[in-house]
């Protein structure tokens, strides 16, 4: 059952790289730029560090949208890390599509250290896009034990 759009606050997880996009987000903050508070940030050293399983896990745990942000191509602190993200995200989107998850819930952006404004804009736009899409609410008949979930299984209604 979808929550009424007006009340729904999307939960977004953002994987930001240390050198560019996290610094850009920091800049947005220190410059007091207005941006949606829905983004929960996880700082990694590089966007190439984002293992696609982090993304799926975040969806499984309740994220409605995921942002992966890194340095602009050519500017990666580790030369090529962001190119890995550039290939992983489109492939993962195909997987999401096949699993019936709207691929717009996964977004890849290049945000430099100086682009506080871009960060604020992306954050706000993504939030509104997700608000329109609605909450993800993954339907599954199991919860993984390894997450500490109860071994709760039920027959999903036919």
């Amino acid at each position: 059952m979808k929550t009424n759009s007006k009340n729904f606050e999307p939960r977004i997880v953002g994987f930001l790289c240390n050198w560019c996009s996290y610094t850009g987000a920091d800049l947005a903050g220190t410059s007091r730029m207005k941006s949606a508070p829905n983004l929960r940030i996880i700082r990694l050293m590089c966007s190439g560090r984002v293992d696609p399983s982090f993304i799926l896990r975040a969806f499984q745990l309740g994220a409605d949208g995921i942002l992966v942000a890194g340095c602009h191509p050519g500017d990666c602190h580790y030369q090529e890390g962001n190119f890995k993200a550039l290939r992983r995200v489109p492939l993962l989107k195909r997987i999401l599509r096949e699993f019936g998850i709207d691929e717009r819930r996964l977004r890849l952006e290049w945000i430099s250290a100086a682009e506080g404004e871009k960060f604020a804009k992306v954050s706000t736009e993504f939030t509104e896009e997700l608000r329109a899409l609605g909450p993800l609410r993954l339907e599954t008949s199991v919860l993984p034990q390894s997450l500490g979930g109860e071994l709760e299984t039920q027959e999903v209604a036919a």
Partner: protein
């Protein structure tokens, strides 16, 4: 002193795991001499009532193959869990969902509709469907309920050990049975046994280079070189994302690995690991070119998750329109 009791049961699977047990050939006599086989429906005529009549924990070792597809599979999983001291998810279906798990990419309704209505040879103008309970003229008949999703054994009951493979190779089965028969101390509960601790690449033997893939090939369209890594040649091979233990039989026969031994150690989702691996070896930095290379992967989910949809993070495809 009475012999330890062994049970084998097959849920939703093809039976290959049990044939693999037979394929230990003459060594089966050692196994049969050591254990008292108390339940094995495909080979012996013990019935469910006989298992119900046993004391809890009476069965020392139960090798349970097959996924949980319907209500009978599920009730047998619960029954055998109660009656067995050690319950093993035997083979890919029980451990990961395997091929029957591909049904989690479609729906129960679609399966019933195609099987009993749409397939071209089916002649069913009355739109008859199998039902869990039917009132026949003479009395009531029942068959198990077909669930919406396929689950693994461990998603239904706690499991002590996992033996991967489709099927587990007879040599590995023998390794496990011999260890048990010799009284070896088993690893902690929850472990994968009867398999290796690396990936299939370890057993492959083909020379590997640093990969720069600009094009992917499907197996029908290319004759591969036998002395070169298949992935190097652009053929998707699940070796890097698959646990070792099978001897890399498929690759040695010139076909790419498809991942039947499940995820490598410490990996929770086999398919997404392959996403990572494939992305790392694509040789392009241009988004449009990347897209067209990715388009050459004919069926990403069905290839990367061929054997493991139910045991993946996402477990099943979302109903359309909801996600």
């Amino acid at each position: 002193m009475s012999k330890p009791k062994l049970a084998l049961y097959w849920a939703a699977s093809c039976g290959g795991c049990e044939v693999a047990v037979l394929d230990v050939a003459e060594k089966i006599l050692d196994v049969a001499g050591f254990f008292d086989i108390v339940f094995w429906p495909c080979a012996m005529d013990f019935k469910y009532k006989d298992v119900e009549a046993m004391a809890d924990g009476d069965i020392d070792l139960c090798l349970f193959n097959g996924a949980i597809r319907n209500s009978e599979n599920e009730s047998m999983a619960h029954l055998l869990r109660r009656k067995a001291k050690v319950l093993v998810a035997f083979g890919s279906c029980a451990m990961d969902g395997c091929i029957p798990g591909l049904a989690n990419l479609t729906t129960r309704e679609a399966i019933l509709e195609s099987s009993y209505q749409e397939t071209p040879s089916t002649l069913n103008p009355e739109r008859t469907r199998p039902l869990p309970q039917v009132a026949a003229p003479e009395g009531e008949l029942d068959i198990p309920k077909f669930y919406e999703s396929v689950r693994t054994l461990a998603q239904v009951v706690p499991v002590e050990y996992f033996i991967p493979g489709c099927p587990p190779q007879p040599t590995q089965i023998l390794n496990v049975m011999s260890a048990i028969m010799q009284g070896a101390v088993l690893p902690p509960a929850g472990s994968v046994i009867g398999a290796g601790e690396k990936t299939c690449c370890e057993e492959c033997g083909r020379p590997r280079k640093e990969k720069h893939i600009k094009r992917f090939y499907r197996v029908w369209e290319i004759e591969t070189k036998p002395e070169e890594c298949l992935l190097d040649q652009g053929v998707i091979c699940m070796g890097p994302a698959t646990r070792s233990g099978c001897g890399a039989l498929c690759v040695k026969a010139n076909m790419p690995c498809r991942g039947c031994y499940g995820a490598a150690p410490n990996v929770i989702d086999q398919g997404v690991k392959m996403v990572s691996a494939i992305s790392s070896v694509i040789d392009s930095q241009d988004p449009a070119e990347i897209d067209s290379i990715l388009d050459q992967i004919a069926d990403p989910v069905g290839t990367f998750y061929r054997f493991s949809v139910p045991n993946s993070i996402l477990h099943r495809k979302q109903p359309s329109g909801s996600a």
